[in-house]
């Protein structure tokens, strides 16, 4: 290859290439180099030094960051020949250089954005994989650590059960087995929580809602447990709206309440709220054994237990408070603990107070099933075509109506007795199985009901005399196929504005 061709290649290469004299002065560069260092009003001045060029690029904002590499410096340049340049357009370029035989320097400037980003992604993926591996190992260690005990008990208990000599002995063993299984269930649940936390799979969903909604759920969840232990569980109602993740906050508080009941033998557990400026402190107070001050920090550690005896006695797993603390970190609510040995403990969490106008009631989707005009009413359908009955039932269900049906019209009395509630309205097909007329069945049903209810008759028969005769009996008529708006209008009128139903007014 001749020198001309080499020169052509030098000019056309897509990477920036520049040649510097042994006095570190720019002798020549290709177009890509010119284009990359477009920070002069015109071409790069000949004779400029490499360090001055980089300085200029930084001063004009073309380069936002410049990292010197470990490469050698040229004696003349006093400037590292290997450096990474972060350009303001987001790209990353690597500058590399080599000295030639005559002490000149040739530099290559190439775009390494993808290389660097891929390396970062790879590094993150490796770290995630390592973390997952560590988590898995820890999970298995923890499972091994805590499942071994109830499993060992279970093994002995199964043997005891098999060899029991009396019914009483067998029952005792079975009861103890039941307890062991419950402990294993709790443990697996807790380990699963820890697993999710470790894997970073918990994403908070912050909403504004009433503190009372969580307090009420806690009362329902723990009231029975407290009663069984002979202690009182008192929940002080609150009207304050808070901003938090409903499910995560409930899990934290459930851990507090569960612990409070576990470590309280006499007295009571109280859940209450107090406003502190812009925060609501939700506290769980107990009259239990209390915690030694030296453990106030460490109780939140994974697998923490004060003594092994405590673990045996209370079936404590030592995970609950750790989970609570980690969940609280996710939703950024501080947790506080105050406790006196022998007197009891108070665990609390500070939650931001929300704007009550922004309250979310936790309804998945607003629909007529939740808030329609017919919500809470029940409708008895008399229709023996199963497809029509199913379609009508589905429609009424969407409107929030409880659907009642009767399959047999032979023994109406028994069928009415079997209804789980009194209907508010009846929709009957005119021609039922076996030549039975819907209007007759409606009449018999209404004689049996404590409070007779209005009825609508549907029919596919459009003969005017028939329709007239049904109407004359006091029933509005709808012709099949019944349109939802048509049914809605008649149902509304018959239930709420009977004066608009000529048949019954």
């Amino acid at each position: 290859m001749g020198k001309t061709e080499l020169g052509k290649a030098f000019l056309c290469i897509r990477h920036g290439v520049a040649l510097w004299s042994n006095k570190n002065e720019l002798r020549v560069c290709n177009d890509a180099f010119e284009k990359r260092f477009d920070c002069f009003c015109g071409p790069i001045p000949k004779g400029i030094s490499l360090s001055r060029l980089v300085e200029r690029a930084e001063q004009t904002g073309l380069v936002v960051h410049n990292e010197a590499g470990d490469g050698a410096e040229t004696s003349a340049s006093n400037c590292s020949l290997e450096r990474t340049l972060f350009f303001s357009d987001g790209t990353i370029w690597k500058l590399e250089g080599w000295e030639t035989d005559d002490d000149s320097v040739i530099t290559l400037c190439r775009d390494v954005t993808d290389e660097v980003r891929n390396a970062q992604v790879l590094e993150r993926a490796t770290e995630t994989a390592l973390q997952a591996d560590r988590t898995k190992s820890r999970f298995l260690r923890a499972a091994n650590h805590d499942l071994r005990q109830p499993l060992a008990s279970l093994k002995i208990l199964i043997y005891n059960c098999i060899s029991a000599r009396s019914e009483e002995e067998r029952e005792q063993a079975l009861h103890a087995m039941d307890v062991s299984v419950s402990i294993m269930e709790d443990l697996l649940g807790a380990l699963l929580n820890i697993g999710q936390l470790d894997a970073g799979r918990i994403t908070p969903n912050i909403q504004t809602f009433q503190a009372s909604s969580i307090l009420e759920r806690l009362r329902l969840q723990f009231d029975h447990q407290a009663r069984e232990k002979g202690i009182e569980l008192k929940v002080v109602p609150s009207k304050i709206a808070i901003e938090s993740d409903r499910a995560l906050l409930e899990r934290i508080l459930a851990n507090f309440v569960g612990n409070a009941i576990r470590y309280t033998d006499v007295g009571r557990v109280l859940i209450g709220c107090r406003r502190y400026g812009t925060k609501l402190r939700i506290s769980v107070l107990d009259t239990g054994c209390g915690i030694d001050p030296q453990f106030h920090e460490t109780i939140f550690d994974e697998f923490f237990r004060v003594t092994d005896e405590q673990r045996e006695r209370q079936h404590s797993l030592g995970l609950g408070l750790n989970i609570a603390k980690r969940l609280a970190e996710i939703i950024k609510h501080p947790i506080n603990v105050a406790s006196t040995l022998g007197k009891g403990s108070t665990f609390s969490i500070d939650v931001p107070i929300g704007n009550i106008l922004h309250s979310n009631l936790g309804e998945p989707e607003i629909s007529e099933r939740i808030g329609g005009e017919f919500v809470g009413l029940s409708c008895l359908i008399l229709e023996d075509d199963i497809h029509l009955r199913d379609a009508l039932s589905a429609l009424l269900d969407r409107w929030g109506i409880t659907v009642l049906t009767i399959d047999s019209f032979e023994d109406v009395e028994a069928a009415v007795r079997s209804l789980k509630e009194q209907p508010d309205i009846i929709i009957s097909d005119y021609r039922l199985r076996g030549g039975v007329q819907g209007t007759d069945v409606v009449g018999r049903i209404n004689d049996l009901l404590e409070k007779p209810c209005p009825a609508i008759v549907v029919t596919a028969d459009t003969s005017p005399p028939l329709i007239e005769s049904i109407r004359a009996q006091g029933y509005p008529v709808l012709i099949k196929p019944v349109s939802p708006p048509g049914l809605r209008i008649v149902m509304h009128n018959i239930l709420f504005e009977p004066e608009f139903v000529p048949e019954i007014s």
């Binding site: 607003i366 007529e368 708006p485 048509g486 504005e497």
Partner: protein
């Protein structure tokens, strides 16, 4: 004007009957929007041509007939109007058959049910205000907010709810009742249903006196009935806040009730804001339709038409009956492009195809239609907009009859 040069727009408005007051404002609002859009060049150069049909008592047969007439005789590309209460969405059927756009302000939860039951069929049906359900939930939050921010100290936790006989009123009353306990309120008994509203509210008021609630909420909406309620209430007032549904917002309510209306709370899930956009609209509206006109009502179809014109322009034009493709494009852009007008933001929910209310269903005031609470002042004063922020321009005052 040649048919092909114009875009016929239908409007079903109750110009006679009990809602005639609102009907006239709906017609005015739509006409004003059409005139403005036309003056600005129409939709992609085509002028809009309105066709109004009186829906009188707003029953299903009347609405269905009106929709059919607009579609088959006038070949309308869209029907845009205020509310028609009583048809139970029957008019959706001719609209869906023709594949045109229908934007209304019926404020009914039934709309969600109909649209979600068959989204493909009802692609063109939009409710440009939130469902009435939100009135109930929003009102309970509102009085809780008054209580919790110390603006009002209720003497007990009791609420008395009086419902009118229409689905609209029943749904609101049920929604109020269903969420009361969560916010620390106790309803004095299941909502009292006024089966047929008479001129005499006194037995109901006396019943409330025995039950002694701190708040009385009337979910019936008819202006005349509400005016009679308030006058009879004020002849021997109870020590309770009074909330009256929607109709009391109307100027004619203040004209009938006069000074006795001072202190009454009224809510609307669609209303005229007191901000720059709202004031500007009100000024132009009154200049055109007179000082006794009610821009608070006329703003509804006005904003919906302006929104429609934008969506149709972006979509590349409107579609006549049968042109499902063009109208589906318009519907898509109605969903995609929120419109900020004198009523706040119309941002359609992607499944309900109804305006999302703020703060009831979104915490972002730029993406929801504000559920406004006004407190009435003197008959000649503008009502005070007291919630929600950032739209409120006044603060709550204890009504003169409350001790």
């Amino acid at each position: 004007m040649k048919e092909s040069d114009s875009i016929p727009i239908g409007s079903m408005v109750p110009l006679t009957g009990i809602s005639a007051n609102d009907g006239r404002e709906f017609r005015n609002g739509l006409q004003m929007a059409i005139d403005e859009v036309n003056a600005q060049g129409g939709i992609l150069g085509k002028q809009l041509q309105p066709h109004f049909i009186d829906t009188g008592n707003q029953t299903a047969p009347v609405l269905v007939r009106a929709a059919r007439t607009l579609i088959s005789e006038h070949r309308v590309h869209a029907i845009i109007n205020g509310y028609n209460i009583g048809s139970q969405n029957s008019e959706y059927e001719p609209v869906a058959d023709a594949g045109i756009i229908y934007i209304h302000h019926n404020t009914l939860l039934q709309h969600h049910d109909t649209v979600t039951s068959d989204p493909s069929r009802y692609f063109g049906c939009f409710m440009s205000d939130p469902a009435e359900y939100w009135y109930g939930q929003g009102f309970i939050k509102f009085i809780s907010w008054l209580r919790d921010t110390g603006q009002w100290k209720p003497r007990n936790r009791k609420i008395g709810i009086i419902s009118g006989p229409k689905p609209y009123s029943i749904v609101i009353a049920n929604a109020m009742a269903s969420v009361s306990a969560q916010f620390g309120w106790q309803i004095v008994r299941p909502p009292s249903m006024v089966r047929s509203v008479t001129n005499d509210w006194r037995p109901i008021i006396e019943n409330m006196r025995e039950l002694d609630p701190s708040v009385i909420a009337v979910t019936h909406y008819h202006i005349g009935d509400l005016a009679r309620f308030q006058l009879q209430f004020m002849s021997a007032p109870l020590d309770s806040l009074v909330y009256l549904q929607y109709g009391a917002m109307h100027r004619s309510f203040s004209s009938i009730v006069g000074e006795s209306a001072r202190g009454v709370i009224v809510g609307t899930v669609i209303g005229l804001l007191h901000d720059e956009k709202g004031r500007d609209f009100a000024l132009r509206y009154r200049q055109r339709f007179g000082p006794d006109s009610t821009p608070e009502i006329g703003c509804q179809p006005y904003c919906s038409l302006r929104h429609y014109a934008i969506a149709a322009s972006v979509a590349g034009g409107t579609g006549a009956p049968g042109d499902f493709t063009a109208n589906r494009r318009v519907a898509r852009f109605l969903l995609d492009i929120p419109y900020r007008g004198a009523v706040g933001t119309i941002a359609y929910h992607p499944r309900w195809q109804a305006a999302v209310p703020y703060p009831d269903a979104t915490q972002d005031p730029s993406l929801g239609m504000p559920h406004l609470f006004y407190q009435l002042r003197g008959p000649d004063d503008p009502s005070a907009l007291i919630a929600p922020l950032p739209f409120a321009d006044s603060t709550f005052q204890l009504p003169p009859w409350v001790r």
